[in-house]
Amino acid sequence: MSDPPAASRPTPALPEPEVAREWLATMTLIRRFEERAGEMYARAKVGGFLHLTIGEEATIVGSARALRETDYLVSTYRSHGDAIARGTPPERVMAELFGKVDGCCKGHGGSMHMFDGERRFMGGYGIVGGNLPIAAGIALACDQRGTDEVTLCTFGDGASNQGTFGETLNLAALWQLPVVFMVINNQFGMGTSLHRHSAVTDLQRKGESLGVPGMRCDGMDVLDTHAVVSQALQRVRDERRPLLVEAVTYRFRGHSMADPEEYRSKEEVAQWRERDPLPAFAALLEREGVLSAEQREQIERDAVAQVDAAVEFAERSPFPQPSSLYEDVYVIDDQVHGHYHSDSDKRSRRLAAAAAVAPDGGERLR
């Protein structure tokens, strides 16, 4: 698995120049965002685990741009890029990383649990493999309602070994659900390389015995990814049965910020970095005459400015009030009474112990 695959098909045609530049801009934004997130982590502005997506931008943008606005996207704990590609303002993502109240999940979720319902980004999920049945359930709802919406579910090569993979692919095939499963084969599940965790390493084939045919795209190439995922989405939309797409890519950084990367060689990383999707795509656009040097610089400047603004926004946003601790555990509703929490009576003490005290959050009705 140490050799980066060459794109197997002829490069698909470019989209409209404006569209192509927007793709590059989004890839650039994600790259700069991730780099900055890493810096903020080093400066302890961001806590928890931070899984960066650097190297996988073509996979993210190529697939996100193949989606309609009405389609759904379901992702993993490595999903800042997905949120941004889907249109979530970077400042909301950064504020979430900072644990601030203006974060897209009010600071409850953090890096691993992004969400933007409005833009049908149906979440980053921290449990490897946990998102597959959820995506199939969303697809079930779409099908049930007779819409032509499709759900795209991304997960890693490592996740393909989780029980939910077999269960969900079988269910989706059996019930003919409009869902595209996209396995992002970045060659590793944490520190375990593909051939050390999966008996079958040709991942596009891993759904065949479950009734889900596969396709593969070059996840380092935004055009190829877009073309293949578009085709998959269209087939699923029309034929109403699931497909599996393998996106072959590589993460340039460690699994998370605390990864000494002893499981792979510097040479291997360098080799893959030669195929860095950002400069590759930019160079292509320049060659094709749809990107001037000036435009390229502008894209860079815009990305940096947006990330600067995101950090500033996140800095300025307040932390959640201690009194909000019990908010959003339940949807409080008039058909439920009694003590939702058995520590209702202790809540005030707990909150009093913290600096700011606020009135009872209302979990106890009557």
């Binding site: 933007d116 995506a135 709802a141």
Partner: protein
């Protein structure tokens, strides 16, 4: 008013809610063509069609997860797990996903999912098929937990569960499906969660009976009255999350003694939780420690005479009550 079996009250509830709201769908193993392992859903496939009554493969974790996903975008799935024992395969989707999604995504997403499952011992199904796991479920914030013991409660609470915006673990009992009880078919209002039912009034001791044990407690109370002149107040909490602790505390304030009867394991059980809560909040009311009557702390054996002594029956409850009433009078 008509007399319905618990099973039929549940079916009625499903029918009513499915007619009321087309977003309500059923998923589960053998609920359709087979009619349900305990026949709760029999006839519903014919009535509502195979898009709304979905037989699933044997894939508990993913069935629940699909329910979660479908609920997030507006369906109101009712997932049947054939028995609570198989819910152990779905704990990740129940805890890490169903229970936490609303909070984790800052209130943006809702999971109006109901997961129905029967529990309990008594049919000689042995160690893997006889669990009572309500203590594990009530531990988890984000879940609501219902444990109805009568046909009317089963119907009313299931309606509330389906209409509620939170994920609900709806625990039925294998031994209750055939039990009959009065149901007012004309009154199709949901029964609010968090309101205990005082099954019997009495001033000498409070007996809290969970799930099927509410019935065991009631029968024990009759015997206590007729054989020992002790008037027990029997409370069925009906839901364990939310918990109507107020009703229990009011009763204990009157009786000064409390016995909790549950079918599950004692170590970290429902009884332990109630004992802790009652002791904490009514310490000065208690003339004796809260006594717990529970399933034996063993995997459930198959053999009839062993199984019989491994979960509570009336004599166990009677004996426990006598132990606290005697302790009380000694003070």
């Amino acid at each position: 008013m008509s007399e319905l079996r618990y099973r039929d009250a549940l079916k009625l509830s499903l029918q009513e809610e499915m007619k009321r709201d087309e977003n309500v769908i059923l998923m589960g193993e053998d609920i359709g063509v087979f009619g349900g392992a305990f026949k709760v859903t029999s006839g519903l496939l014919e009535q509502f069609g195979e898009r709304r009554v979905r037989d699933t493969p044997i894939s508990e974790n993913s069935i629940v997860g699909m329910g979660v996903g479908a609920a997030m975008v507006g369906l109101r799935p009712v997932v049947e797990l054939m028995t609570v024992n198989f819910a152990l395969l779905a704990f990740d989707q129940l805890v890490n996903h169903a229970a936490h999604i609303h909070y984790m995504f800052g209130g943006q997403a809702r999971v109006p999912l109901v997961v129905r499952m029967p529990q309990g011992a008594g049919h000689q199904l042995g160690p893997t098929h006889s669990h009572s796991l309500e203590a594990m479920f009530l531990h988890v914030p984000g879940l609501l937990v219902a444990v109805p013991s009568t046909p009317a409660d089963a119907r009313g609470l299931l309606k509330a569960a389906i209409r509620d915006e939170n994920p609900v673990i709806f625990i039925e009992h294998e031994s209750l499906y055939g039990v009959r009880g009065e149901v007012d078919e004309a009154d199709d209002r949901p029964l609010a969660f968090g309101q205990a039912r005082v099954a019997r009034e009495g001033g000498d001791v409070t007996i809290v009976g969970v799930s099927r044990m509410a019935l065991t407690a009631e029968r024990a109370a009759e015997r206590l009255a007729s054989e020992h002149g002790i008037e027990a107040e029997v409370i069925d909490p009906r839901t364990l999350r939310p918990l109507d602790l107020d009703t229990i505390l009011e009763s204990v304030a009157k009786t000064n003694r409390c016995v909790v009867v549950e079918e599950g394991w004692p170590h970290g059980g429902v009884g332990a939780n109630l004992a802790a809560l009652v002791s904490e909040q009514a310490f000065d009311d208690l003339d004796a420690p809260v006594v717990r009557v529970s399933g034996a702390d063993v995997p459930m054996p198959y053999s009839k005479p062993l199984e019989e002594i491994a979960f509570p029956h009336e004599p166990d409850v009677v004996q426990a009550v006598l132990s606290v009433t005697q302790a009380g009078s000694a003070q």
